[in-house]
């Protein structure tokens, strides 16, 4: 940890945990509209959000989701010369995604009201260019 500015470092660590925790829901959400293969899921997450996704974490997580029967997978031949493994949500996966979305919405609403005063301060700093 950096000695001169410990706060941003700790905040970054917290952000990593936060992203990690939301990755499961993000993947289920990416599959909501239809089956995708691993790289498509990755690109979908990166374009649809500013989630910086580490590739080495997505594939193991997909395997875990499959073991939990939240997604199904199927190898499909492609024009590229090699087969690709497509994932689709199972009924249990759809239920899980909806349940997690409900929790997310409730959580973020309660956090938003709690954070409102801090939010004002952050916005004020942004407009005045003031540094903390």
């Amino acid at each position: 940890m950096n000695q001169t500015s410990p706060v941003p470092d700790a905040a970054e660590k917290w952000e990593v945990q936060l992203r990690k925790g939301s990755l499961e829901l993000a993947i289920l959400a990416a599959l909501w509209t239809g089956p995708l293969y691993g790289l498509e899921i990755l690109r979908n997450l990166e374009s649809g959000s500013d989630l910086v996704v580490v590739e080495g974490t997505v594939y193991p997580l997909l395997t875990r989701l499959r073991t939990l029967a939240l997604v199904d997978s199927e190898w499909v031949e492609s024009d590229s010369g090699h087969p690709r493994k497509y994932y689709r949500l199972t009924d249990a996966g759809r239920q899980r995604a909806l349940a997690m979305t409900r929790i997310w919405a409730r959580f973020s609403a309660s956090m938003s009201s709690l954070l409102a005063p801090l939010d004002e301060e952050v916005n004020h700093q942004l407009t005045t260019g003031e540094k903390p």
Binding site: L39, Y59, P83, R84, A99, M100
Partner: protein
């Protein structure tokens, strides 16, 4: 798409190490993982297969060891263990039987298999130690009756036993074979149909 041999070699070396790091998992799981990572690497480098592009793709995945560690989750290890330990298979089937119809069916079939296999082995052993008390008993009286018995008992046998001591290896091999097939069937069904954590993790989300 054709890769340069240099890039191909780097990729194959990465995948071979990954395969080795995944050796604790079941063969089919490990193979599936390696093929998926291979498809990912080929897709990522399909436009540009220069050494730099391949290196960057592999770096984004982490080292084979780091990647393998992320894969070695409880569920996959549990699946691997299930295929090796008979006691664990039995315990899991018993629990499964109380949870679903498929589980109950597998439990009943396994029960029949273990009983038949077990009885055959016992008869084989009885024939070995008490040859007069066990065996095939065929009672044939031309024109009147025909009865065939098989097993162990204390009463006098009126018929004759056409295979004699051959019963020992036949019973042991057949019984052992049935026990093995039953065990394999149990662990295969568990791997194929049973989702050990589904109940617990669904509850965790509902809370």
């Amino acid at each position: 798409m054709t890769l340069t041999t240099e890039s191909q070699k780097t990729i194959e070396a990465y995948l071979a190490t990954l395969r080795k790091e995944l050796r604790e998992l079941m063969d089919e799981d490990a193979r599936d993982i390696v093929e998926e990572i291979r498809a990912h690497i080929l897709d990522k480098t399909s436009g540009d297969d220069s050494a730099q592009a391949v290196d960057a793709t592999l770096a984004a995945l982490g080292t084979p060891r780091q990647l393998a560690v992320r894969y070695r989750t409880d569920e996959l290890l549990q699946r691997a263990q299930l295929s090796r330990s008979p006691a664990m298979v039995l315990r899991s089937i018993l629990r499964w039987a109380t949870l679903s119809f498929v589980g109950l069916l597998v439990f009943v079939l396994s029960g029949v298999g273990y009983c038949v296999g077990g009885i055959l082995v016992v008869i084989g052993l009885l024939k070995a130690f008490l040859p007069g008390k066990a065996g095939l008993n065929i009672d044939y009286d031309p024109g009147h009756s025909f009865s065939a018995g098989f097993g162990a008992g204390s009463g006098p046998h009126t018929g004759h036993d056409p295979i004699g001591l051959w019963l020992i290896p036949i019973c042991l091999v057949l019984g052992g074979g049935i026990l093995l097939v039953t065990f394999r069937f149990g662990s295969w069904s568990l791997r194929k149909f049973w989702r050990p954590r589904r109940v617990a993790s669904t509850l965790a989300v509902e809370e």
